[in-house]
């Protein structure tokens, strides 16, 4: 038994080393002064980071990426929230259609999507190929599956349909029941898929390169351009960029973890199970009348 555990330790150890070597290597490279024939760097320096944070181009690229992310994720939340809510609650017969439209981008790689987008927007009435606007549209579609699943599952966990029924029975308007009953309960669920989308768009390169390229330099385009210049500086960019991604996914993990163990949520669940019971009773009463 003990020898088999050693076996598993070796496997997992090798795996962790394989997965971490590129990351650790890049990190060391970004703080290394002289490093060409030893296992560890001979000297360390922060020069590369100082150089990076004095680079206007880096800030500009970062700002552009941020602009794209805020626009597309913001648009996605503003559009998808009412859409999914309305379809789930009032037009449930179209749910299949919505799901198909929302999940389709998952199966289409950006490289294929870009071919069609270039075709549609390089001539014709709307010529936005080569501008950031086409990227916002493309990114809206890219994050669609994540936003859809996040919002849909939060609506399902709070039993939105029954909640709205109850609110409307008590005299609330449709907008009121959405704003005061449903919305506060799904914020955290939306937050998770929003952050995931942000992380996803941060590392998006294919659309940015194919649709706009150097005309609107995002952080990824900037990185790709720097690939062939100073390795140390590029490592500093990679590490800075990757720390941001880690921070984002870390928050996501924390949020999902907290939601599962939050007593407030379990309270909410209790209320909802009560609703459910009521709903069942109503059903059985109707069946009894027949």
């Amino acid at each position: 038994m003990k020898s088999s555990l050693t076996f598993h330790k070796v496997i997992v150890g090798l795996l962790v080393i394989y997965l971490l070597i590129p990351l650790v290597g890049t990190f060391l490279f970004s703080i290394a002064g002289k490093w060409d024939h030893t296992i560890l760097p001979e000297s360390y320096t922060m020069d590369w980071y100082i150089e990076l944070f004095q680079d206007e181009r880096f800030y500009d690229a970062f700002r552009r990426t941020l602009f794209l992310i805020v626009m597309s994720v913001g648009l996605s939340v503003v559009i998808m929230l009412p859409t999914i809510f309305i379809i789930t609650v009032y037009f449930s017969k179209w749910e299949g259609l919505l799901q198909a439209a929302a999940m389709l981008p998952y199966g289409i790689p950006p490289i294929v999507g870009a071919v069609g987008l270039i075709k549609v927007y390089s001539d014709g009435p709307i010529q936005i190929a080569g501008t950031p606007w086409i990227l916002i549209g493309a990114y809206f579609i890219t994050i669609l599956p994540f936003m859809y699943q996040g919002i849909r599952s939060s609506l399902r966990t709070i039993n939105a349909v029954q909640l709205v029924d109850a609110a409307e029975l008590l005299g609330a308007t449709k907008f009121q029941s959405f704003r005061t009953v449903v919305f506060p309960n799904i914020i955290s669920g939306i937050l998770v898929s929003t952050l995931l989308s942000v992380a996803l768009l941060f590392s998006e390169f294919a659309f940015a390169n194919l649709l706009v390229g150097g005309r609107f330099e995002t952080i990824q385009i900037y990185l790709a351009d720097k690939l062939n210049s100073s390795g140390h500086l590029t490592s500093a960019i990679v590490i800075t960029y990757y720390s941001m991604i880690l921070l984002l996914t870390g928050i996501v993990l924390k949020l999902t973890f907290r939601n599962e163990k939050n007593p407030v949520v379990s309270n909410k669940k209790r209320i909802l199970s009560f609703f459910k019971k009521q709903h069942c009773n109503k059903n059985t009463a109707i069946e009894g009348e027949k």
Binding site: L19, L23, I79, V120, I141
Partner: protein, 312 residues
């Protein structure tokens, strides 16, 4: 008289509320209809975005693939060009081979590694999964860069090994098939582990106990119970990984640029490069790539169905 009274009541009293009810009902119906129109109007932005950036471009791509280079004549020449050209066929073949190879290798590694992970305490398991989650975000341009500084022409390991005198790495070239495979496997493994690991939770300890009580060995347990239970998730993971690497663009672009003939790189240079734009041909290749990916998904579903039927 009693009958008459009833008759009177029915005739005169009842119709009035009925009329009222109808009127109210009509009012309510009109109100609901009005509200429904408002609600439908709120769906409009979503519909516009989906048509403008999802369905529209896809349809445009498919349509465009059936036009000649001048964009006027309707023909299937583009497809004929692809299937007659050694160069483009090689791109498709290279993409298929790399995707198959990296998907199979990653799935095998992930099946073994995920099993090993389940052997540790819950706390360590969580930590290992976190590492997998962390590294799965390390992909595309940054990942390629990382491999370049480690194993590229002037990479740390390359220099180190040549100084030590190891000839093992003398033939190694990162900017080639082997390099691509290595990088592809790197970004596939964490994903594969995260996809396969949960299905090990489905294998109950009691099953193992029952199997050994009935005289089964560890091998026969895995052969007859363990692997069949895992198989749907293995096949599912495989097709996700396959599709993932078929469509991969950033990693390959950063690593080999245009030095290696891959389907995704060819499409990119046909529709969005500085030289020799051939959007119609690019569209046709895009259709083929999409078809391969849909094929992979279809295969996945068929396999799943077959496996499930066997289980029943």
């Amino acid at each position: 008289m009693k009958v008459d009274g009833n008759w009177f009541n029915e005739r005169t009293v009842k119709p009035i509320p009925k009329l009222l009810e109808n009127k109210e009902e009509r009012e309510v119906l009109r109100k609901i209809k009005k509200q429904k129109i408002y609600l439908l109007a709120l769906l409009l932005p979503f519909i516009l975005f989906v048509i403008g950036f999802e369905i529209g471009p896809l349809v445009a791509m498919i349509k465009n693939s059936f036009y000649a280079d001048n964009g006027i004549q309707v023909t299937i020449d583009q497809y004929i060009t692809i299937f007659k050209s050694k160069f483009y066929l090689q791109a498709i073949q290279n993409s298929l081979v790399i995707s198959l190879f990296s998907a199979v290798t990653s799935v095998i590694i992930a099946v073994i590694a995920a099993y090993s992970i389940t052997k540790f305490s819950q706390k360590i398991q969580n930590r290992l999964l976190m590492i997998a989650n962390m590294t799965s975000n390390f992909e595309g341009i940054p990942l390629s860069f990382s491999f370049i500084i480690l194993l590229g022409n002037n990479g740390l390991f390359t220099l180190l090994f040549s100084k030590i005198g190891g000839d093992v790495f003398a033939d190694f070239n990162l900017y080639s098939w082997t390099g691509l495979i290595l990088v592809y496997i790197y970004f596939q493994i964490p994903l594969a582990i995260m996809l396969i690991y949960p299905s090990y939770q489905g294998i109950k300890k009691q099953w193992k106990e029952a199997s050994s009580l009935l005289g089964g060995s560890t091998l026969s347990f895995w052969l007859h119970i363990g692997i069949p239970v895992l198989l749907p998730s293995i096949v599912g993971t495989f097709s996700i990984l396959f599709a993932n690497s078929m469509g991969a663009y950033a990693t390959a672009y950063a690593l080999v640029g245009s030095n290696y003939n891959l389907l995704s790189l060819q499409i990119a240079s046909l529709v969005a490069s500085d030289v020799a734009l051939k959007p119609q041909l690019g569209s046709a290749m895009g259709v083929l790539l999409a078809a391969t990916m849909i094929g992979a998904m279809w295969f996945n579903e068929r396999m799943m169905r077959r496996i499930r039927r066997d289980l029943r």
